[in-house]
């Protein structure tokens, strides 16, 4: 009898370990995304004093379609809050979907190259679109919501991970800047954890939309042959991912240009 009990427990553990975990899904048609700078890439901004090359790949999360009555319920739910920067509550809230990106940078040149990996998010309402500010006649890009600069050796290949916490910060930053934060670059700068910054607390809305997707890309100040391969894993903590093969929820976010605080002359 004892043996039977042990067997039953083993079966239950087997079932639990395989079926009762949060879904983690790799998205993308071929399982990964690719974006590259090449010799034929045209400059996003060019002047006599410099140029900026930016290439991006848009990654849209396959969100489940809300039930017919849900949108109206979300609209009514927003009436309970003062000064929300959106006209209804979000279908995907912060924490519903946790995103993690693994990427590999490959320098195809026989020379050292410097390149920045940049990520900018969007939710159901807004999409962060950093621009270029000319300072002393030099084009200076606004900070992306997540960015790191890498010095690549000739033919070097390196791999890094953008963690779930980084994307969570991105979601909070996006909601904060569209809610009237005076200096977007200060909010999104990757080393300022604005979600815990007392000075920005008043701009963090009471409801924070989760990311519906993001753009990942490369930024360089000169022409280069550099390839970025990225895999995107989504952990569906809130049950907001569409079933595979079904039509996803379409979102149409408004572009949001950063508010840049300039020094007074």
């Amino acid at each position: 009898m004892r043996v039977v009990v042990v067997m039953v427990i083993a079966v239950v553990l087997l079932a639990a370990s395989s079926g009762c975990t949060e879904e983690r899904r790799y998205i993308g048609e071929d399982g990964f995304y690719q974006v590259a700078l090449s010799e034929s890439t045209t400059a996003a901004y060019e002047s006599e004093d410099g140029a900026l090359y930016i290439v991006e790949q848009r990654v849209e999360l396959p969100l489940s379609v809300p039930p017919e009555t849900a949108i109206e319920d979300l609209r009514q739910g927003a009436e309970g809050y003062m000064n929300l920067p959106f006209d209804r509550l979000p279908w995907v809230e912060r924490g519903d979907l946790a995103i993690e990106v693994d990427f590999t940078l490959s320098n195809l040149e026989d020379a050292e190259r410097q390149v920045a990996v940049i990520v900018n998010g969007f939710n159901e309402f807004d999409e962060y679109m950093p621009g270029v500010t000319v300072i002393d006649e030099e084009p200076t890009p606004d900070f992306s919501q997540w960015e790191r600069v890498y010095e690549l050796e000739p033919r070097q290949r390196l791999s890094r991970t953008i963690r779930e916490e980084d994307f969570d910060e991105t979601a909070v930053d996006l909601a904060t800047v569209v809610n009237g934060a005076p200096n977007s670059n200060q909010v999104v700068f990757f080393e300022s954890k604005s979600s815990a910054d007392e000075r920005l607390r008043e701009f963090i809305p009471p409801v924070i939309p989760g990311l519906a997707g993001f753009r990942i890309g490369l930024r360089a100040t000169g022409a280069a042959r550099i390839v970025l391969d990225a895999s995107v894993r989504v952990r569906d903590a809130g049950g907001r991912l569409a079933d595979e093969g079904t039509r996803p929820f379409e979102v149409n976010p408004e572009p949001f240009m950063p508010v840049v605080a300039m020094e007074e002359e």
Binding site: M7, A10, L14, S18, R24, Y26, G31, D102, S231
Partner: protein, 234 residues
């Protein structure tokens, strides 16, 4: 205290003498008995009872008929690795199985079971190394050759369904790994029955073909497994 009367003293002395006499007699009888046991007498078997403690141990011959047969359950612990296909992207990992079976004949058994193995990827990123599970629902037809009372060899033909929760392998370019697939193969085992009606232990090794885990270039994936097991026959 009053002094004992003369007639009482005489009675006490007589009793003491009588007790001493009894003791001497008993000691003499024991000495005689010890002397007589040094030369054992032949004793005829007692036909009225089965006095097993007097039988030599080899008198009870163990045969397979003494063991239970019929419905059985078994649990395996071992390992599994893949050769080719998904094996180029993953490391061997631990394997567990629980199963149920029926002994139709001493040489023929039917069984079914659930297997789970865990594997870590070992492929160039992205994505960074992760783990995936292989879950098998296996049916088997087992032929057994009991070559001694306690030992037997068996060979099983196996077929079933496999599926992998999650879609990690699709990020490495194995899209078929997302869906359940048919798999088939065989296992060879050695079974050793314990001196118990119900229990036996054993070792096994085998291989199965997993068509849905083939590589990007179509290379077939062969899952190779081995395990130790405990079997309980009801």
């Amino acid at each position: 205290m009053p002094a004992a009367r003369p007639q009482h003293r005489c009675l006490l002395a007589a009793c003491t003498l009588a007790l001493c006499g009894l003791c001497v007699t008993a000691r003499a009888q024991r000495a005689a008995a010890t002397a007589s046991s040094s030369t054992p007498a032949a004793e005829a078997p007692d036909p009225t009872r089965l006095d097993v403690e007097r039988l030599p141990p080899e008198a009870l011959e163990v045969t397979r008929d003494m063991f239970s047969s019929g419905l059985f359950v078994h649990g395996h612990l071992g390992g599994r690795g893949f050769v080719g296909g998904v094996g180029r992207l993953s490391n061997p990992g631990p394997l567990a199985r629980v199963g149920l079976g029926l002994e139709l004949l001493p040489w023929l058994m039917l069984g079914a079971g659930v297997e789970l193995s865990l594997h870590e990827t070992s492929a160039p990123p992205p994505p960074s190394p992760g783990t995936f599970q292989v879950v098998d629902l296996v049916g088997e037809l087992r032929l057994q050759w009991p070559f001694s009372a306690r030992a037997a060899l068996w060979l099983a033909g196996e077929a079933g369904l496999d599926f992998l929760p999650g879609n990690l392998l699709s990020a490495y370019g194995l899209p078929d790994a997302d869906s359940a697939g048919l798999m088939y193969g065989g296992t060879l085992g050695f079974d050793w029955h314990l001196l118990s009606r119900h229990h036996s232990i054993g070792l096994l090794a085998g291989a199965r073909l997993y068509p849905n885990l083939q590589g990007i270039d179509g290379e077939q994936a062969l899952g190779v497994h081995s395990a130790a097991y405990l079997k309980y026959v009801f």
